[in-house]
């Protein structure tokens, strides 16, 4: 923020006191903090007055869990050496797709074994990960079974 600009707190108090949000002292016009303070106050008033539908307010708070619904690793284990070939371009598209098919067929002796090796490796790693997952779950289960006895003990006295 510029050195001359009032703090956000100052701007908020200007709005509360009804002072104009355009700072006449500034050569090029509006005080942006004051604009924000004015609109924040407006939204706060609107929330209190029920201006915004409850359904909208609830919808805007929809949780964001980017990792939710992600496919399990098993879905990505298999490496495909041939992807679907298509084109939406008329005439040229058909020629392009045909050419790519020919190239793919010619190189398949080289590409396919690499994809198979990678798939085998992915499967091996995934198997190990799942084994580890089971071991961790078993260990956590054993620890949880042992914990209630400790939980009955009095907590240590802390300072202050």
């Amino acid at each position: 923020m510029s050195d001359q600009a009032p703090s956000r707190a100052d701007a908020a108090s200007m709005v509360a006191s009804g002072e104009p949000v355009v700072d006449a002292q500034k050569p090029d016009g509006a005080d942006l903090d004051a604009v924000v303070a004015e609109l924040t106050a407006e939204v706060t008033r609107g929330r209190s007055a029920g201006t915004y539908p409850a359904s909208l307010v609830a919808r805007l708070e929809t949780p964001f869990h980017p990792d939710e619904g992600a496919e399990p690793a098993e879905a990505h284990v298999r490496v495909e050496s041939a992807r679907p070939l298509r084109s939406t371009r008329p005439v040229v598209g058909g020629v392009t797709v045909f050419s790519k098919r020919v190239v793919r067929r010619l190189l398949s002796w080289y590409v396919a074994p690499i994809a198979q090796d990678q798939t085998r490796f992915n499967l091996a790693i995934l198997r190990e990960v799942r084994d580890l997952q089971e071991q961790v779950a078993r260990l956590e289960g054993s620890r949880a079974a042992a914990e209630p006895a400790q939980g009955n003990e009095a907590p240590e006295q802390g300072g202050s």
């Binding site: 923020m1 903090d33 604009v35 805007l60």
Partner: protein, 362 residues
């Protein structure tokens, strides 16, 4: 001739750090110093611009200096740590790994390595360069004995800047890779609020790649559907410079909800297209924008919606923001940055060490 070389993990076109490295090399050559770029991975389009990192150690003499560009963990940090010459750390900031732990564990791992590299390299170098005061402060906190700020060189011409001429409904834009610290999900909430209360036809375009963040990108699409704005949110992926220019030119306002931003090149790009900017006051963003953007501390999408609506409708406010944006761009001009590079050479005691006859014309 004294040499000032640069080392970085990856040199690729269209990448802000790659552009900075190339501009710095041009300046160093102009100053008459020898200067080469060394990288672990070099994009094939730039194969003539750089040499493999493994060749660096054999290319330096004791009086030479090496600038290491740190933005993520990399093996080249070990190489840099072992060099027997003068060393300078250029810090572009490292996103806290916590942002990526759930969506991209691989990225989170390398970010953690990067933080460890910062902790061991910062106290060991002669000078640290931050591309913002925010980054320089992190360098000092990590034990760097001396720091200075050199904003990244800006190449806006590649986008063919022109005043934006949006046709149709208001269109918001934020250009950045899709990443959890960029908080694109907050912008989708803002759009939902804006459409529900003020601008029912508004749209949002979020150009940017999602390498390593596919899960996050899929989450954004799901959120847009859940909020009922799927048809108004566009995720076109990584675009060419020409296409990005066209997207900026068709936008009404630029928005940025980033929680962690080491500089914010997209803010400068928006000003170059006469776009008013509304941004979250976080990390280096307040420092980069100065008084040329509406800054929000709040994460409330309704407050954001009200502010964005005001910026869209209030012509006087738009003009003010555009004018301030133009003025702010001056802080990052070629001349201003050239002064900083001169200061760098002064601080390294290398002014006048170059052979100016070797400088390219222009």
């Amino acid at each position: 001739m004294t040499a000032v070389h640069q080392l970085l993990p990856v040199l690729s076109p269209g990448d802000a750090i790659g552009q900075a490295v190339q501009r710095m090399r041009a300046w160093l050559l102009e100053a008459g110093l020898a200067s080469e770029i060394f990288a672990e991975q070099i994009h094939q389009d730039l194969s003539k611009e750089a040499r493999p990192a493994g060749e660096l150690a054999a290319s330096i003499a004791p009086g030479d200096a090496v600038l290491y560009h740190l933005s993520i963990g990399a093996r080249s940090a070990d190489l840099f740590a072992g060099l027997g010459c003068r060393r300078v750390l250029v810090y572009h900031n490292i996103t806290p790994a916590a942002f990526y732990r759930r969506t991209s564990p691989r990225v989170a791992y390398w970010l953690e390595v990067g933080r460890r590299d910062l902790a061991r390299l910062a106290p060991a170098v002669e000078l640290g360069i931050g591309d913002s005061a925010y980054n320089a402060a992190e360098l000092r906190a990590a034990g760097c004995p001396a720091t200075m700020v050199i904003p990244p060189p800006v190449d806006l011409a590649r986008l063919s800047p022109r005043p934006s001429r949006p046709t149709g409904p208001p269109r918001l834009i934020f250009v950045s890779r899709l990443a959890p610290n960029k908080r694109q999900e907050e912008l989708i909430r803002v759009l939902a609020a804006l459409r529900a209360c003020w601008q029912p036809e508004a749209t949002l375009v979020l150009p940017g790649g999602w390498d390593d963040t596919e899960t996050y990108a899929a989450g954004l699409r799901r959120l847009a559907t859940d909020l009922g704005v799927a048809g108004a949110v566009e995720l076109p992926g990584r675009r060419s410079d020409r296409e990005l220019g066209d997207l900026y030119a068709g936008a009404t306002a630029a928005v940025c909800a980033s929680e962690h931003e080491g500089f914010g090149m997209h803010l400068l790009e928006a000003w170059a297209f006469d776009l008013p900017v509304v941004a979250r006051a976080a990390a280096a963003v307040p420092e980069t924008v100065g008084d040329a953007a509406v800054l929000l501390d709040s994460a409330d999408p309704l407050v954001w919606g009200a502010v964005v609506d005001r910026v869209i409708r209030d012509a006087q406010l738009r003009r003010l923001l555009i004018a301030r944006g133009h003025r702010r761009l001056g802080h990052f001009s070629e001349a201003s940055l050239r002064d900083r590079m001169t200061e760098l050479l002064d601080r390294l005691g290398l002014s006048g060490h170059g052979d100016r006859r070797a400088a390219p014309a222009g």
